[in-house]
Symmetry: D2
Subunit: 369 residues, 4 copies
């Protein structure tokens, strides 16, 4: 009947608004964001970033805006959505449209204040394997038959390119090959994912140091993220980017200049020039109480990571654990020289912790707060 | 070049397998299922079901198989995927294909042993509003211009039909209308969703009792579920179905005969004939210790819900809280008559708790273990 | 045998040191302190205090230094140990020694930087009931046959005196009696415990406002504290003291001048002159994103308490919940006047929330960060 | 005045009752017990026990009845309170009274149904070190100048004696000495604490196997226990005792015959004859789904410990983790022979996991449920 038909159309218009409201109520999304506590270091703001994730538009399991909501909730500053170019198992249901995830997620990113980076995973069998190109303009235009051509296209678009999960298919397939040397020389490999999810690739870590490549660490998440917040016990693998400001351009500049560290499981991995100021910005010595030959102080760790100190000198406790965002009360012998320790879980090279000094005497003498 | 092209095709074949492995590792899905502890009641097995949820194929945010993985992880026995028939905001990206979510999720359901029910949400402006048809065969064939016709189609396919979130757009729009009376008479409305997410509709609860309609409670989830397990503090709204066995046919038979209860927030809602045996199957009295005029006993609650007892008789503690899956030590005066209580959070009608008796003397005299 | 005897003595000396080390390892104490996030308000530092707790020296269950370790771990600045003077159920095992708990705990308090206040609970049947005297010098010298005499002794020692759990034995026994009027006039009742554990006494709240008495809230804890940290979901009842500095003298001065607020369950209770600046110091408006007729902003709540806003004006969302230490994204209509709300869970009188205004336009126009 | 004095006495009587009620409300104790899920094994009930803990009567931090409340809350069946005989740092405040903690705790143990074992720690410098005597009658009568004499006294009282934390003061001091050989021969050392708190002593584990000594694992807790329940992530170190029934006599008999296993961190340690049936009682194979050359099954682990399987045969997944009280879905190739694995975290000797077989074919063929 005519009347019904017209009614139905009107109904559908009304419906759209009301279902959106229902959605909001029924979605189950956490509606609160928790910041991640890493201090800024001199001259740079410390941004929390994840440069590798998937949506239903390749082989992921969520609609693109979910990635933005997850990032907001978990305290990230920036993410790159990086669906596969060559691997599209859902294409029978979702026709190929490589630039579309970025469009969908973009609206939500603007609303929530998340910096959204356009990216794609160039997906070839190993070797050469998978590479992410981020900060690109037109993903459809990247596609080529071989990795080298795709990477060139990405480079021409101003993209930042890194090798993903280098050990993924085992040590054998993850060897350094001549193609990679060429790519580095031509600016087609600017970094390596030294951590992917819970995996840490010590060999890739070494390559980054030797070849001056930027270290990144990402989730490569396909399913939904189940986290309400990032804590030291359970957090995303992420890249800390030491940027001149919070902007897309500043993140790109920092990546191009290697100013990153990777937070993976209980470890922070990066160059000494960044981990050292991050340590001293995180840990403060307070409330000294001298007594006879000893002094007891608060070591306050304002960062999100639990820090483990191993004694390298002759004095001081053998091991000190500074819980994330907590204060630990520690007794030292009274002495004027600083105490020499290694931060066991701040890796400046494979199996090499960051050397630091705790200068208790300055606190005691009242020079420092 | 030819060679490269061929290589790439081969590569893509290899790729599919290896990415699946990577996916598994990187997915972040919990890989363990936690059972929900509600006991069976005489003659029936207690199945945990959710009959209302969405995927990217209508306005949900996840790929259909995610719904099955969530259900498995959270301890459900059966789910219905019920994407909207009339509301398809993603259709520009995912062409309309109403029966497709069931196909995709079906493989995962078989793998994980979840009973998957084919369903759809018949979506019209309020009133008449939204109705779920579950246990249908061909969703595309349901579509019609008005609700009544769609419901008839569903009924002809053997579907079980219930009115969704009756208070959704407010009390005004949620009034009982003549159309509903007709639908009930013609077997086109078999139940009502008395709980949707965290909302409980007391008026709908009353209607179910008066009109002998089946009570169901569901999540209506659109986004990803963030739960690792269902606990008394944080759980899905769900329908407990008292079925003759764990099978699709048995669930349908139980729904048709009104054998359900709804677990929503801290409440269990259902007919007295089911809540009463569920209470006695959940709570046992153990380890009596008499002393002078008192007796101390363990009240053990083996169910997943925390149970609050309010005293109705003259004796016994005023309030007793039996934590979920826990044991509470309680002191009673020595007497031969049972203690009279109301289970405050087991609702047999709006604002009416289930009356029960605690017969401590049987334990004391050694009749019961 | 001689030799053995000598050996044993030496052994015992060595033992003391080594057992202490073992103790440390086996104690199970959390070794990290978590700060409680309430901001300072203009001119005052916000100290977190608990002025009522017990040890094995009266009817508590823990050794006195445990109270200090709990306070440190849970982020408190100051505590008073207040064992009963008249109620000593353990005296058969622990001979009466009223000033001893303070001595034992004092060493640990100095080590951990907790301000430890000497106190006692003057314990008489209700009415008059129980009163705490804190900041006293000599507890043994307080003892007298009636409350009035004990309170006079405490007053002469410079003590601050407050009435404990005024409703404890029911409304009947918790009436205001003439003796209390006398005590207030003579400076023998300086405050009232408006919250004790999870109980809030609205009548006592009103008395504090009418009679200009200081509001305090405490745990009255007897058993061990099971908390690793204070969060909005699970925290000690405590008194926030707005002190000129972090010192015992400054806390006493603030108490004498009524500069407190009480954090109990999900409520903050205090005078408007303190809750108002605390709200504005806690909540900031950030990251405005205008669009058409709306503006979306981040409301960031840096405090430890979740804040619930109810709309009092005509515009803005009806209810806004600002999670503890979280950021909430909220949409407002574009307007130049501020939005008018009540902080539902900041009580400036019984059942009366704090009125506040949200001035979104200043953020939008760029005046504020 | 006379009148006041009399009043005060009456008041104190009334007070006792009313403060007890207050205590209950303010104590903060969890009032619910959580059972620990380890299945019984053929012929024996699996009891959860902790045979080493301290109270304020030696160097512990809590009143004795707290130990019973902790045990009840955490799901234990039996505990021994074992204060030091020779090390009494609180004796200035609590005059020596070695048998008193047992008296105080006994009332609470009866009330809560916890089996309370009388014990003491015979405390001598290392070597010989500390030994617990449990199931003794009169602790004051044990005291002697040297360990050997105390152990003889304990033995005469029918006590079960074990060496505590054998590596406590380092490997050097924890050597096996001739005295121990004598003690074993004379029945004065019946077991060794192979785990104390989070420490596992592999050398002691080996000694137990070689010398046929009973393995025990305990907390040696001094401070309050902060746990609400025992889970696989955070639990007491405890001794599982395979007893003929739940009684003190049956526990003693089981200890004398070496029927124990120790649960420490993520490991279960014991003789193969007990760990093997415990594994098979914990893990069941369910819901087989064959497809082509594979079969997918649920491996359900009903125990409280997460179980890690390492493949020893040629087929099956390399590693399988069966979460505590959870179900894991696993794919195996179709074959008739069982799959050969080692339970990595069930130690039947130092660094030697329990070998087991998974016979999937029986499930598939329908022989097993």
């Amino acid at each position: 009947m005519k009347k019904n038909h017209t009614d139905m159309n009107r109904n559908k218009v009304l419906l759209t608004a009301s279902i959106s409201l229902l959605l909001w109520a029924a979605s189950g999304y956490a509606d609160s964001r928790c910041e991640i506590a890493f201090p800024d270091i001199a001259g740079y703001t410390t941004l929390k970033c994840d440069f590798h994730m998937h949506t239903v538009f390749s082989d992921g399991k969520v609609w693109p805006d979910v990635r933005v909501e997850e990032a907001w909730r978990e305290g990230l500053d920036a993410i790159a959505i990086t669906d596969h170019i060559e691997y599209l198992p859902h294409k029978g249901d979702i026709p190929k449209n490589l630039d579309r995830p970025f469009e969908i997620a973009g609206k939500k990113a603007e609303e929530l204040g998340i910096l959204l980076i356009k990216g794609a995973e160039m997906t070839f069998d190993t070797p050469p394997g998978h590479f992410n190109a981020i900060f690109v303009q037109d993903i459809a235009a990247l596609e080529a038959k071989v990795l080298l051509d795709e990477a060139k296209n990405a480079h021409q678009q101003g993209g930042f390119i890194f090798w993903n999960h280098p050990d993924w298919q085992g040590h054998e397939k993850g060897q350094w090959i001549d193609l990679y040397t060429t790519m580095v020389q031509d600016g087609l490999m600017n970094g390596i994912e030294i951590c992917n999810g819970s995996a840490y690739y010590s060999r890739a870590h070494q390559w980054c140091l030797e070849k001056n490549l930027t270290m990144v660490g990402n989730t490569d998440i396909h399913g939904p993220s189940m986290r309400l917040a990032n804590t030291d016990k359970d957090h995303r693998t992420m890249t800390l980017v030491f940027a001149k400001e919070k902007s897309l351009a500043a993140i790109k500049e920092a990546l191009q200049n290697g100013r990153t560290a990777v937070w993976c499981e209980d470890k922070l991995i990066g160059k000494k020039e960044f981990l050292e100021p991050l340590f001293y910005a995180s840990v403060t010595i307070q409330n000294p109480l001298p007594s006879n030959n000893d002094i007891v102080v608060d070591l306050h760790n304002r960062s999100e990571i639990s820090i483990t100190l191993d004694r390298k000198g002759d004095t001081g406790p053998k091991t000190i654990v500074l819980g994330a965002k907590g204060t630990t009360r520690v007794k030292f012998p009274l002495q004027t020289e600083p105490f020499v320790y290694t931060v066991k879980n701040f890796l400046i090279a494979p199996e090499k912790g960051l050397p630091i000094k705790l200068d208790i005497s300055t606190v005691f003498s009242g020079k420092t707060k």
